[in-house]
């Protein structure tokens, strides 16, 4: 760590959303800057810091939650106008706190979904992202509206070369980035890391399209566009840290730094070379705040020197300032600090008294015979569930504004469950003998505000007709003593979490097709599919089509449906079988008559296995290596003698395997792969040849040759053309 920055707490506000803090540019007289922050209570405040004490310049009344705060970046003048978005409204404030601009937009239907972002650029243009739409307003008039395939996460506006048009770069939840001009999509690209936020370097002219992004997997990278091509490049890997929630700039005398704030509470500074943006940024500083970070901004806040201003989800606002500065701070500030402390102490003790009063009042009510109702508001908790990773784990992230004491997880079917290292997980036996259920309590460390849970379904059967429901009861550590329940829903096909463009349909793959027709509506089939697929589905429309791909096998699933008919295509026959069973069951439940037909290529098994062959081989290799490594380790050889080059004990290959530090990757997926291939074989027989069943001997030989990785043999067994012709002959005779 190169920089030594220390934390200085300034003040508190309500729960904040990402990007709800902005630092105002410095004015001519003063170097020290003001900042504006909006919170969930709808309060926008503009503050500055004097002697580490916050000074409020203006503060609005509570209202609808403020989900984004931006500064006008009009060319030429100073950007001292503050814009705050709440609900479907946008309000503009001067630095004195006067409302000079207000617009109630027509994006009414998406207002319920709390994620939208808004940016204001180039004078009087206003670009608003809400739900799946990007809308451009000019002089309070809607110019155009572009509807994306998935939720819009962030947008940045650029000018075109000739400066007459606006070019919007948009990040979408399906891991795509788009360029929109004049209401039309110009270019798109897929970024597998899954960017969540991005930011433009200050120094560039507005026509050059460059943006740094921070992604779900914790990595950062650069997006660039040069009229013909939109490309993205990963610059820094995630290093096991949490997903990035916000990005910002921090400039000091050693250069410009990209600041990232993550969900796991870490804040990092990366030194970026402004001459060559694509150069790998260098990590200069890491700080763990312990709770999700929602905004990071650099500026001169407390002193004349730049520091990093941070807000967290629960509403802490603090600075990270160079320790040297803190150490050299003079006597007067020391005294100021002492008075600040005593002031805070008295305030806290006043609050304590007040709270005690209220508590007493509340207790009195509970003791009185008068039957009132105790209905405390819902706890502020955010949660999300990811799609399955290659080995089937699905991760749920839970973020709370108050410290947590315990979680209790209930599921009526068996689950494997993992959690943070810091938390104590204790699973008790099912309530009744012979029942499969999960009762797990998780005791958190003091001060925990965010927890992740990893869940994996044991005993997956394709006869399963609904997704798995998991109830999580969240018990906070302090008052009020209420517990909120959150429902998670693990889908039947959790692996299909990767969004794909529909173009994959044109790929040459052995497509299996399932056609369903019957009296169902689009809304119905959408609700059925939520039980099957992870993540959000497109909203019901006249005709819906989308594509997903398997996070481990790489197989695809294309869904197309409209009122009364649906088509599913996949190059994974087992997926089609599961879907078929599931949909016919849904129809049965709803009393809907349905017709199901499918189309399976004869050579499916062989061709799909060929697609999987490389993966199969490498996993086999890995499995073998791991077995060898295990054997060598159990010999309990002395580390020193093994690595001694003069006296070799192991042969070179073994030494290489032994020293490969693949510690965290001790699981192979070889068994899953053999299982998948066998399943394909069985399912093919089920669907393709209705009259004859799979031969048990064949199945056994297949399992055997798979286990030993005899690929030619596998293909021989899988090649039905030959076999079916033989069968045909037998039938003929």
């Amino acid at each position: 760590m190169d920089y030594d920055l220390a934390r200085i707490d300034y003040t508190l506000c309500g729960v904040t959303y990402p990007d709800a803090l902005k630092i105002l540019p410095s004015t001519d007289q003063k170097v020290q800057q003001k900042f504006a922050v909006g919170d969930k209570n709808g309060v926008l405040q503009c503050l500055s810091i004097k002697d580490e004490e916050p000074v409020v310049h203006f503060k609005t009344l509570p209202g609808k939650p403020i989900t984004s705060v931006q500064l006008a970046s009009s060319v030429g003048t100073n950007a001292d106008k503050i814009f705050a978005a709440s609900g479907n409204e946008v309000k503009g404030y001067t630095k004195k706190g006067k409302v000079f601009f207000s617009i109630e937009t027509s994006v009414s239907e998406t207002i319920t979904s709390m994620i939208y972002i808004f940016r204001c650029v180039l004078g009087n243009d206003l670009i608003l992202c809400s739900g799946r739409t990007v809308t451009l307003y000019r002089e309070l008039q809607e110019i155009y509206c572009y509807v994306c395939e998935d939720r819009v996460l962030d947008a940045i506006a650029f000018a075109t070369r000739n400066r007459n048009r606006i070019r919007i770069l948009v990040l979408i939840a399906n891991k795509e980035a788009l360029i929109i001009e004049n209401g039309n999509m110009q270019k798109r690209t897929h970024i597998s890391a899954g960017p969540t936020r991005f930011i433009v370097p200050h120094s560039l002219p507005t026509s050059e399209v460059y943006a740094f992004y921070g992604a779900v997997d914790g990595s950062t990278g650069l997006i660039s566009y040069d009229e013909s091509e939109l490309s993205a490049k990963c610059l820094v890997e995630g290093c096991g840290l949490g997903s990035i929630m916000c990005v910002g700039w921090f400039t000091n005398n050693s250069g410009t730094h990209l600041a990232v704030g993550r969900h796991d509470g870490s804040i990092q500074l990366y030194l970026v070379s402004m001459d060559d943006l694509s150069e790998k940024p260098r990590l200069k500083f890491t700080y763990f705040s312990g709770e999700p970070v929602t905004s990071v901004c650099g500026g001169c806040i407390g002193t004349d020197e730049p520091e990093l201003l941070v807000t967290t989800f629960s509403g802490r606002i603090f600075g990270l300032r160079s320790s040297r500065l803190i150490a050299s701070s003079n006597k007067t500030s020391g005294e100021a600090l002492a008075t600040r402390r005593s002031k805070l102490e008295s305030e806290v003790s006043r609050l304590e008294k007040q709270t005690a009063n209220e508590r007493e009042k509340y207790k009195k009510i509970t003791r009185s015979s008068f039957s009132g109702v105790s209905a405390p508001p819902l706890l502020d908790i955010q949660h999300e569930l990811s799609g399955a990773t290659h080995n089937g784990w699905q991760e749920a992230k839970i973020t709370s504004a108050v410290p947590l004491d315990m979680l209790f997880v209930y599921c009526d079917s068996q689950l494997e469950i993992q959690t943070d290292n810091a938390a104590v997980l204790s699973t008790c036996a099912p309530q009744e003998y012979n029942r499969t259920e999960l009762l797990t309590s998780i005791r958190c460390q003091a001060g925990t505000r965010r927890v992740w849970l990893r869940m994996r379904i044991v005993n997956f059967e394709d006869t399963k007709m609904e997704g798995t429901r998991v109830l999580v009861y969240i018990l906070p550590a302090g008052a009020p003593r209420v517990a909120r329940v959150i429902k998670f829903h693990l889908p039947i096909l959790p692996h299909y979490s990767k969004y794909e463009s529909l173009e994959i349909e044109e790929n040459k793959r052995p497509w299996c097709e399932l056609q369903v027709s019957g009296g169902f509506s689009v809304a119905e089939i959408t609700s059925w599919l939520t039980d099957v697929l992870p993540g959000e589905l497109p909203r019901p429309a006249n005709k819906v089509s989308f594509a997903r791909s398997h996070s481990f096998l790489g197989t695809s699933l294309i869904c197309k449906y409209q009122r009364g008919s649906a088509v599913f295509k996949s190059d994974n026959i087992s997926t089609i079988v599961i879907l078929k069973n599931f949909i016919s069951n849904c129809c049965l439940k709803r009393n809907i008559r349905e017709e199901i037909s499918f189309d399976v290529p004869e050579d499916f098994c062989v061709t799909s296995f060929q697609l999987l062959k490389d993966k199969f081989k490498s996993e086999y290799q890995r499995k073998k290596e791991m077995d060898i490594k295990k054997a060598i380790s159990s010999l309990d050889l002395d580390e020193m003698t093994i690595n001694d080059e003069t006296m070799p004990i192991l042969c070179e290959d073994y030494l290489l395997i032994y020293n490969s530090s693949d510690i965290n990757n001790t699981e192979t997926n070889f068994d899953e792969l053999t299982e998948t291939v066998t399943k394909w074989y069985v399912d093919w027989w089920k669907l393709y040849s209705t009259e004859s069943f799979v031969n048990n001997d064949d199945l056994k030989t297949l399992q055997n040759v798979l286990k030993n990785c005899q690929l030619d043999e596998v293909e021989n067994i899988m090649d039905f053309k030959q076999k079916s012709s033989q069968n045909a002959k037998i039938n003929y005779y």
């Binding site: 220390a6 508190l12 803190i326 020391g334 508590r359 109702v373 819902l378 209790f408 009020p480």
Partner: protein, 713 residues
């Protein structure tokens, strides 16, 4: 909240693996500290950075210049060092292997003594104990403790209920003499004073480490990840972690704790972490030693890959002197952060009350978070003889339901620390039963969290309650009308105490539907029966008018527990009793038989093995010689070698099996002896142990049975 990290003052690599837990530091020449550790099965390494090359049996290691290796023929289980030799300030090395203890003078390269330990060696410590004025070597075995002096003579011996996991000598009752604290596998910390157990602290898992903190305090660590501090028998605090503590040491003014995964943290007086570091691999040990020869002991942390890190005890104060101004500021800032934390919590709470008050005026009946304010939670415990457990009944007083019940308690659940109940959505009621089965007869605090609301609620109210289960909660009272079945196992003794006080004892220690009350003041006797919920057996307690007391139960352990509990309550210093437990006596006889048999066969087997080994050593060179003149002869001789070798191997297996059997029998035997001792109190209890030790060494089974029945008479 902020835990800072620290830099080590010294750092070195041993270039050897280190077996966790088997590490010590000693001054073999009386002046310079040497780190001594087990480096795998039978190898001991000695690190001597201050020169003083060790000669003799120890050989210089090829992997590290300052390390010497010492090879033994047996596995190394425990290491200890101390200046046990009188008039000599040099530390002696004590090496514990599965069946023997070797005291070795490293400096002089001579053996002090060699002692067989039939009850295994788990822990060795060196220290002063009680009135003995020489330093003793105290050895903890599978079910006993044994004290030896420097010549290997037995000083005292006692039985312990479980495997000894840790020991320290510590002045527990502050009388100027050290007591022995024993951490057992059966979850007790026992205090041995004057060869008599004066206190048992019930914990929730095997006690893996014990460490003295100050004159009155000691720290402990348990196999379920709990660490804590006791002061005069009262627990000050405890915290639980996922990892197990390898070692606890008091350094400066904080408790340093070394966890198995290589993390080391420093905790202040209340258990809050204020510093932490992470080693690169799992931890093997942490010791306090003056390894830099500066006069103050540093914390020396050793990882299992042989990395050694040293941390000085008080670093804060050193920093304080240089920039006090900065630190005053720093302290203020931390205080501000802490105050803002507090403020935030208070604000959230206030907001909730405000929102609650505003919603109260509206008629929000049955909203997703609501609950009538008059809701109360009641909890009762009742014995369930059909299921053989206790039923914890949790109920509300109105139409609200108990959605979830979490019962937190340690040591009473098979898995983990909680028991949860989450009824099916169709079976939601305002009454919920939670079955409890405490496996041991100790008082248990059960903490209950119940989530109360309506079936469709999104948010539930948390009700928290703590209920104490008395020591003998698993025994439920039988009505006197039930006919007695004949049990011929009993213990009887005489006390001079009013029956009224006995009643109070019963009310306190048993779970009764209603307290028992005497009919009138003149009642002199009390007869009461209980049913054990675990095995449905019967226990009769008869307190006669003449002070004669008889506990009738087939369970000798329970009889002991009852007597100990009653003795503590009535403050009896000594109690003699008569006992008759045919089952225990029978077992005693059979175990004694096995022990003596095994002893004989072992000697025979050992002799045979030695003979065969000698033959092999003679045959091998003969075979090699034969190679030069007669190949056929050579082959024959080699065949003989192979044959002999196989025989040797089989006899080795047999020896191992008999050894295992011997250890198991010895353990059973010790358990019975301990139970016999627990039927008596004070000096009589001690006398039982002494008499038993004599009888066991004389192999006198009938004497043992007699001691069990009548104590030492």
């Amino acid at each position: 909240m902020q835990a800072s990290s620290v830099q080590p003052v010294f750092k070195l690599e041993l270039n050897h693996k280190v077996t966790p837990g088997i590490v010590t530091v000693a001054k073999y020449d009386g002046a310079h500290s040497c780190l001594t550790a087990s480096a795998g099965y039978d190898k001991i390494i000695i690190h001597h950075p201050h020169g003083g090359m060790i000669s003799g049996r120890a050989q210089r290691s090829s992997a590290h210049g300052e390390v010497s290796e010492l090879n033994l023929s047996q596995a190394v289980i425990a290491l200890a060092t101390g200046p046990i030799k009188p008039d000599c300030n040099r530390d002696m090395l004590l090496i514990g292997s599965p069946t023997q203890i070797l005291a070795y003078d490293v400096h002089d390269n001579s053996d002090l003594f060699f002692k067989e330990a039939p009850d295994c060696v788990n822990v060795i410590i060196v220290g002063y104990f009680g009135k003995y004025n020489e330093i003793l070597v105290i050895v903890g075995g599978n079910s006993s403790v044994l004290a030896l002096n420097w010549e290997g003579n037995e000083i005292f011996w006692n039985v312990v209920s479980g495997k000894v996991c840790s020991m320290i000598t510590f002045d527990f009752d502050r009388d100027g003499e050290n007591e022995l604290l024993i951490g057992c596998e059966d979850s007790y910390i026992k205090v041995l004073k004057n060869n008599q157990f004066i206190m048992e602290l019930a914990e929730t898992g095997p006690v893996l480490c014990l460490s003295q903190i100050s004159d009155v305090r000691f720290a402990y660590g348990i196999a379920n990840g709990t660490i804590g501090i006791y002061e005069e028998g009262i627990r000050l605090w405890r915290v639980k972690s996922k990892q197990n503590a390898v070692s606890l040491r008091w350094s400066g003014d904080s408790l340093a704790c070394c966890w198995a995964n290589g993390r080391i943290d420093w905790r202040d007086g209340t258990g809050r972490v204020h510093r932490r570091v992470q080693m690169r691999s799992n931890a093997a040990a942490m010791l306090l030693a003056d390894y830099r020869s500066i006069g103050v002991p540093d914390l020396v942390c050793i990882s299992d890959r042989g990395e050694v890190l040293g941390y000085p005890p008080v670093q804060e104060n050193m920093g304080m002197n240089t920039t006090s101004n900065k630190l005053a500021n720093e302290e203020d800032r931390l205080a501000v952060t802490e105050l803002l934390n507090k403020k935030q919590a208070l604000m959230v709470e206030l907001q909730h009350y405000e929102a609650n008050a505003s919603s109260m005026n509206q008629d929000l009946e049955r909203s997703t978070t609501a609950m009538p304010t008059s809701t109360k939670l009641q909890v009762a415990v009742a014995a369930d003889t059909d299921e053989g457990c206790l039923q914890l009944a949790i109920s509300t007083n109105n139409s609200t339901i108990v959605r979830v019940a979490l019962v937190l308690a340690e040591g009473i659940f098979e898995s983990g620390e909680t028991l949860a109940r989450h009824p099916n959505s169709t079976q939601l009621k305002s009454l919920l039963y939670v079955p409890l089965e405490p496996p041991r007869d100790v008082p248990v605090d059960v903490h209950i969290k119940a989530l109360v609301g309506y079936p469709e609620s999104e948010q539930f109210h948390i009700f928290e309650l703590t209920k104490q289960l008395p020591r003998f909660s698993m025994y439920t009272m039988l009505s006197t009308s039930i006919v007695k079945t004949k049990i011929d196992s009993y213990v009887s003794f005489r006390i001079t105490e009013r029956v009224q006080r006995i009643c109070i004892w019963i009310n306190q220690n048993f779970l009764l539907d209603e307290e028992i009350d005497l009919e009138n003041e003149d009642t002199r006797e009390l007869h009461i029966s209980f049913l054990c919920l675990r095995d449905r057996s019967r226990v009769d307690l008869d307190f006669g008018a003449d002070g004669q007391v008889k506990f009738t139960t087939h369970d000798i352990r329970l009889a002991g527990d009852l007597i100990q509990s009653l003795a503590i309550y009535l403050n009896l210093s000594d109690l003699q009793s008569l006992a008759r437990f045919p089952e225990a006596e029978e077992k005693l006889r059979s175990e004694m038989n096995i022990v003596s048999e095994v002893g004989e066969t072992r000697y025979r087997l050992a002799a045979e093995t030695a003979e065969k080994a000698q033959l092999i050593t003679a045959l091998l060179p003969a075979a090699q010689d034969a190679a030069s003149y007669d190949l056929k002869e050579m082959l024959n001789r080699y065949k003989d070698v192979i044959l002999l070798n196989e025989e040797l191997l089989t006899s080795c297996h047999i020896r191992r099996a008999t050894q295992e059997q011997a250890v198991a029998s010895l353990k059973n035997l010790h358990t019975i002896l301990q139970q016999a001792a627990r039927l008596r109190v004070g000096k009589y209890s001690k006398a039982v142990i002494t008499a038993c030790r004599a009888a066991v060494s004389d192999n006198n089974t009938e004497a043992l049975v007699k001691i069990l029945q009548a104590g030492d008479t």
